[in-house]
Subunit: 350 residues, 2 copies
């Protein structure tokens, strides 16, 4: 069997490379900076539920199935010797006004209809669970099943596990596809590598990291999500005490400048939800490019003989890493992909 | 004559060292990071006028006299071969509400009574002069005489000029004063070095740097100042296109963490005054420690035989560098200090 080339060393490329190497393939990852890119800047929520919305069932299905695979994926990584930092602290979605509260009710009904465990709470109950929440929080939705992963720990764990399994890294950007079997996992840059990936485009996002200073209120125990003035924000606590605050979302081509407005809106939104953040130290501001797809479904499948897509994961790259890796490894072995991945076939979607 | 030790390599220490070396003294500057500290993070306004307020005549007098010396100081630096980046584009102070407008009228009357050139303008006239100003600007005060200096260019010019004149740099922090003649120019850390400097304390400030992205409105042509919700902000354009946005001000001991709230307030304030900044790239966030004094007057004078103070410059270190250097050089030579510096004598102020 020839070497497998993986173009892109974000969470998808690294997962594919590691899993393929575990199956005995010789793999080379091409990326000028493996472990960086959009994955490095993610919040790390593995949250198909709180991301879901009626009408996006295919996205929810693939997300739910990948979530189901996450604990096993994390365990296998840990067995390689590298902890991916998985947390099962859950999510609290909060409502700040009556429109938000209405949305939470719809979301709760929808999730219950899917058989998911959700617990609607009053503002007071929300603050009891998360004492730092603002008095302006009217109601909330507790989602105990939601997992989160420390994206940076995960990337480092994946790269180490891949290297341990013999994966080679070539630190350069490819202008065209290498010979032999290739997986395109180049995120926002994927459309440059194959015409069937024309629908993949950059979706800019700004994200901040904050750290409580001495005397500050501690970060929330679980992921906190809200919509402030029409803009979704999330606060994801990290084990070491940092708090990830994300994320803006807009079309700006390949621009990765951190804008004044993006930072201002994130900080304003976070203070509305969790006022104690005002006194936190702002330790990082960054912008990255998600690989957006038109319908938020990823592109996973064979593009042409021996050329595979594993890209366009929109906001869900970390969540969908296990199922994407499993699907690509199956395709490489001539086996069927998981059912939920069929709708992601790029040849059916042009 | 023995070597002169200067403790602190900010704008004051470097100015003193350079001027003393020009007069033939052998000088050593002690600073772990010369050219950094509060001076590195300053806006660079040389603005005794727009900083002035009735009742602070002594501060205004020393500021005005130092301003008068600034062009000569800059010219001598340029003659050494190093451009300090002096700008005479002036200042526009703007009012956003009727309370601000009232303050501007008082300030205008006060400055006129001091014989200063000021031009009250309507909101429309203000926007004609600075097209990026918000429609919310009600009125303004144009101060053509105000100078500004590129603080980073200045620090680099001063250090190079000092080195050219034989000044030596020792990159360490001193726990106690060295032997021989010493100038204490250690900014916020000065009180640790002499009991008469007990009144010098750190006054934290956060400051941002922004850069217009492609398609953005250009920065203002002159310094723009305003008070937004009780908090003063300034936008100072730099020749290379960056815009300095400052500054928060609060007592936080020696803490230099950039806080969420500080950044949010600066960005919010700036957008209120100059909305186009929203799309600028946020290229730097930083916090520094001004050397505050109780009455905003600096401490300049002999503390004890051969030990001199040149510190406590509050918000005015860059403005007061020329007169401070002149005063210290005069003291070292046994000559009288400029009249305006007499009120800064640390032995008269305990």
């Amino acid at each position: 069997m020839s070497r497998l080339s993986v173009v892109g060393g974000g969470v998808i490329g690294l997962s594919v490379a590691w899993r393929a190497a575990v199956r005995g393939r010789k793999v080379t990852v091409f990326d000028p900076s493996p472990g960086r890119g959009a994955s490095w800047l993610a919040g790390g929520m593995l949250a198909p539920v709180t991301e879901a919305w009626p009408g996006e069932e295919a996205v929810l299905r693939i997300g739910e199935e990948s979530l189901r695979r996450w604990p096993g994926f994390a365990r296998e990584l840990a067995e390689e010797g590298f902890d991916p930092g998985l947390s099962d602290a859950g999510t609290m979605v909060v409502a700040l006004d009556s429109a938000d509260a209405g949305h939470l009710e719809i979301l709760a009904e929808y999730l219950k209809s899917l058989g998911r465990e959700v617990e609607p709470v009053t503002g007071r109950e929300a603050r009891k669970a998360e004492p730092g929440l603002s008095g302006a929080v009217r109601s909330g939705l507790l989602v105990p099943g939601d997992l989160a992963v420390d994206n940076r720990k995960l990337l480092q764990a994946l790269e180490k596990a891949a290297r341990k399994r013999g994966v080679k890294f070539v630190h350069k950007e490819l202008a065209e596809l290498p010979e032999g079997e290739v997986v395109i996992a180049a995120g926002a840059w994927s459309s440059r590598l194959h015409p069937l990936l024309d629908g993949v485009r950059p979706l800019k996002g700004e994200i901040l990291r904050l750290k409580p200073r001495r005397g500050c209120l501690p970060p929330p125990k679980r992921t906190v999500r809200a919509v402030v003035e029409g803009k979704p924000i999330y606060l994801v606590p990290r084990e070491e005490g940092e708090l990830v605050l994300g994320a803006t979302q807009y079309e700006a081509g390949f621009d990765t400048a951190v804008t004044a407005k993006g930072v201002r809106e994130l900080l304003e939104g976070a203070e509305r939800v969790f006022p104690g953040i005002a006194e936190y130290e702002l330790v990082e501001t960054a912008a990255g490019l998600r690989a957006a797809s038109v319908d938020t479904m990823p592109y996973i499948g064979e593009l042409a003989g021996g050329v595979y897509a594993a890209t366009g994961h929109h906001r869900n790259g970390l969540l969908l890493a296990p199922i994407t890796a499993d699907a690509i490894v199956a395709l490489l072995a001539g086996e069927p992909v998981p059912d939920e991945v069929i709708a992601a076939n790029p040849r059916e979607r042009v």
